[in-house]
Amino acid sequence: MPDKPKVAFYWCASCGGCEEAVVDLAEAILDVAAAVDIVFWPVATDFKRKDVEAMADRSIAATFLNGAIRTSEQEEMARLLRCKSQVLVATGSCSHLGGIPGLANLCTSEAILREVYFESPSTTNPERTLPEREHTHNDHAVELPAFCETVRSLDQVVDVDFYIPGCPPTPRTFRNALQTLLGGQLPPRGSVLAPDRALCDECPRKSSKPEKLTFAQFKRPTNTLIDEQQCLLAQGLVCMGPATRAGCEALCVQGNMPCTGCYGPTSRVRDQGAKILSCIASSIESKEATEIDQVLATIPDPVGTFYRYGLPKSLLRKRRIQEVPHSSLAGR
């Protein structure tokens, strides 16, 4: 009997949601489990790193890696799994685009450590202890991975074959992706396994979006009552739908919340945040600079809004922080 294809799952800088997404496959997971041999999955199995190191190169048929790359260990594992896998699939927004952890690219790592270990209101650390790379205690030596300066997407570290987008990928997206990968015809290397059209294509509120939409003001979910039928952009909310890939069945919209862009841009776009910016700014009513600014002031955090998931994969990737005299929150 031929061996079942070997499959691995790994998580880097992530929340665990993508692991749960696998579990969310529900009954379908039994078919998956029957069809493949899971050789590495830290959250669910007991295989160790050394087991992977012992495998032959390219002996794993497919590795599904989620989470961004933030520590030296994550980078090492990404390289290791790349080496041992025929196909490496970046699963979820973090490995695809950097994800929400990617917003840390707006601060220096130094500032983060300082905040967490010294300055946050709930920290008690009178000895000013910081994590060390190596520590010996009672003749036992322990190691911690290094903390990288920049949050990166998976393909900024290793070559990636396919992407399954989403935060997390919806069960349907995941199922379709698995079917595609386990089926005969592989799409071109580098493909994102979701439709290459914007979300408006499958949005249930599409027909309520007017043809001539202009903005005199923007709203946020916290300061407006959201109508359950009407297009969210038409209600003044910043919905990332027009700049985000479809495939999620607009679940957030169906939950009466605007799309926040987790499936990333279409293949024709290099910077998702720039495109949604261009789209909504173009339709502001005013023609005069100060008035335009007043309208735009109703979007208090453009970077956080437009690049919620995609900052590391955007064109600028991270904030440029210049040398400033010491202050508690340098760069913020």
Partner: protein, 669 residues
């Protein structure tokens, strides 16, 4: 030609790079040999040359030969501005069998060699620009210009001498002309002149036959008292909306007998007469001047009692009798016409010296503008041709001050071109009418035209006094008994070397020419540009003085810049000829820089629909996607930049092409 293959596989692009010396224009600052050598080692560049004049026949032949010999499929020319020679080199490619749009030009003259002093920095800049062009050109796709047919009718805006001449020329060529004039009559400023320089032809005598010809020509639709209110479309296919203001007189029925004017309840005029510049008064019902075309009276609703109170005896209607031409219920009407070309001949206005305290206009009653004096001189004017002061006396001494509102940093910097000549003319005419002593105060005497200098000589012989010096002020305070009751002109006589005080009875200000007050509004309506001074902008000051950057729209006469009648007529003829050239070509080719929606990729988000001012983008319900009408698209690319999923593509300005250009100027090869 494996053009499509190149798009997906840049390695198969074979590029020829041509660096022009442009004599020493480029080569004097840019190291053209170094540039050509640099280009030659860039990826995909098969041949790289430099040559003295790329746009010349041998220069172009070089490109054609290389295309054949080296099987080039892309060309980069580094030379002057593409706005000058892009069409030239595109034709070169066409002759060699390549699609003309597989060319990228690099501007290393206007943007580099002519504006930078540091030769090394300039050469470095050209290397960056050429590298960018080489990267971009591999992505160029073959494109076809769009052909549209041309409507053979022409709209002429403005019924002065330029507009009249253009309209007649086109009408004689068999074209349908719509001549729109906002005043109740055509004739413009020329109708206000008495005589014209240098021949001293009577202006009305040479103008009125042309006016009559316009009024009766079967091919000219004359719309006076009308304005253009909307212009849509593009070259060969303009849709123009014209508003006709109500005269309250039926144009079909009025025969111009003017009985109504005589019968008007106003026994004499109380409203300042516009044609006589307020020097006389007219009634509410009037004809602008006796030779007006069309010969149809106008009712001024602001002056007419019937409009103010509704209770007039309406003796005008009575006098009109059976013709029943007067209609107080008349409303403004609109017409929409389709034309292929438009000629703007909207003329000028004279500088208004009111704000200037130095010359006393508006303060001293006997200070006049040149145009006002022109009306005094004219036999059909407010004083029956008598040049008299406000008190009716003939002046014994008259001062004519040149350059009022011209050549002046405080008002207008330009020279208005006609004032020296008309000041000489006025000197002659006033002397002829009154025998007075005439003093012309000038800075320079500008008499460049045919017979102009000879006219100046004649004036010198006639005993007119010329003082070369800028007038400092006109005042009425006397320091000497001989100055009592006079206006004193103070000027430095630079040839004699001392300051003169010249007492005169009448001062004539030679006011300069300015763009019309609504020039900005008008040019926006027609989508053309103005220069910083406000004159309509020609396509090229030397080689294209009557065309504009908007295809199909031409300019003629003083609206393009101050000029005299012969030049206005010449430009009108030129504009008519260019319009004819456009029309008789039967079709025009438009640049193919249009945008198109990628049908498969469009999500139907409708973000693009409101962005197009030409309504070229529509949301199609059947397909649930956007669609761009190629005929209406002008190629600005605004929708392309705004599409949030990157699903609109613009020919020749695709995202990828521009990214290559950006990265090309920045990254070192």
């Amino acid at each position: 030609m494996p053009d499509v293959a190149i798009q997906s596989n840049p390695e198969s692009s074979r590029i020829g790079v041509y660096v022009c010396h442009c004599g020493t224009n480029i080569a004097g600052t840019v190291d053209v040999r170094k540039l050509a050598a640099y280009a030659g080692q860039l990826p995909n560049v098969v041949v790289s040359r430099e040559y003295k004049y790329m746009c010349s026949d041998p220069g172009q032949a070089l490109i054609e030969q290389d295309i054949a010999e080296h099987k080039l499929n892309r060309v980069v020319v580094a030379s002057c501005s593409p706005l000058l020679h892009e069409p030239t080199f595109r034709r070169t490619l066409g002759r060699a069998g390549l699609n003309p749009f597989l060319l990228q030009m690099v501007n290393i003259r206007e943007h580099v060699s002519w504006v930078h002093l540091d030769k090394q920095a300039a050469t470095q800049k050209t290397e960056d620009l050429v590298r960018a062009a080489v990267r971009r050109v591999s992505l160029h796709k073959p494109l076809e210009k769009r052909r549209v047919s041309i409507n053979p009718s022409v709209l002429v805006v403005g019924g002065g001498i330029a507009g009249i001449h253009a309209a007649l020329t086109l009408a004689e060529a068999g074209k349908q002309v719509y001549l729109v004039e906002r005043e109740p009559t055509i004739g413009g400023h020329m109708a206000m002149f008495d005589k014209t320089f240098p021949t001293l032809d009577c202006a009305a005598c040479i103008l009125t036959p042309k006016m009559t010809a316009v009024g009766s020509h079967p091919n000219i639709e004359l719309w006076t008292y009308s304005d253009v209110v909307k212009v849509d479309g593009y070259v060969g296919n303009y849709k123009v909306q014209v508003k006709h203001k109500p005269r309250y007189v039926n144009e079909e029925l009025c025969i111009g007998c003017q009985e109504c004017i005589t019968a008007c309840v106003y026994k004499e005029g109380k409203t300042p007469d516009e044609f006589n510049l307020g020097l006389s008064k007219r009634k509410p019902i009037y004809l602008p001047f006796p030779q007006a075309v069309p010969q149809i009276v106008v009712i001024d609703q602001d002056a007419c009692i019937e409009f103010k109170s509704g209770k007039c005896k309406k003796t005008c209607i009575e006098a009109c009798g059976e013709r029943v031409a007067i209609d107080f219920q008349q409303k403004e009407t609109f017409d929409e016409v389709e034309v292929g070309a438009i000629i703007l001949a909207t003329g000028f206005k004279t500088f208004s010296p009111d704000p200037n305290p130095h010359y006393g206009y508006g303060r001293y009653p006997n200070v006049y503008t040149s145009l006002e004096v022109e009306r005094l001189i004219n036999a059909a004017g407010p004083t029956g041709g008598e040049v008299v002061l406000r008190d009716g006396q003939h002046p014994k001494a008259v001062g004519i001050i040149h350059c009022i509102g011209s050549r002046d940093a405080n008002t207008n910097r330009w020279c208005s071109k006609v004032c020296c000549m008309y000041s000489l003319k006025l000197a002659h005419l006033i002397k002829e009418h009154t025998g007075a002593d005439i003093f012309n105060f000038y800075i320079d005497m500008r008499t460049p035209g045919k017979g102009y200098e000879e006219f100046y000589d004649r004036l010198l012989d006639e005993g007119v006094h010329f003082v070369r010096g800028r007038v400092a002020e006109v005042s009425d305070w006397a320091v000497h008994p001989s100055e009592e009751g006079k206006l004193v002109i103070r000027a430095e006589d630079t040839l004699a070397g001392f300051v003169r005080r010249v007492p005169v009875d009448m001062v004539v200000l030679a006011v300069g020419l300015e763009p019309q007050a609504d020039a900005q509004e008008v040019r926006r309506l027609f989508n053309i540009s103005c220069s910083t001074e406000g004159w309509f902008l020609e396509r090229h000051p030397k080689l294209a003085p009557v065309s504009t950057f908007t295809e199909g729209i031409y300019i003629a006469g003083a609206c393009q810049g101050p000029k005299d009648i012969p030049d206005s007529v010449a430009q009108a003829g030129a504009a008519a000829a260019e319009a004819l050239s456009l029309i008789d070509a039967k079709f025009v080719e438009l640049e193919p820089y249009t945008a198109s929606v990628l049908e498969e990729e469009c999500s139907g988000c409708k973000s693009c629909v409101p962005l197009c001012p030409y309504q070229a983008i529509a949301y199609v319900n059947e397909t649930q996607k956007a669609h761009i009408n190629e005929v209406l698209c002008k190629g600005c690319g605004t929708c392309v930049a705004a599409c949030p999923s990157g699903s609109i593509r613009q020919n020749f300005f695709e995202d990828e092409e521009i990214f290559e250009e950006i990265e090309g100027v920045l990254t070192y090869a």
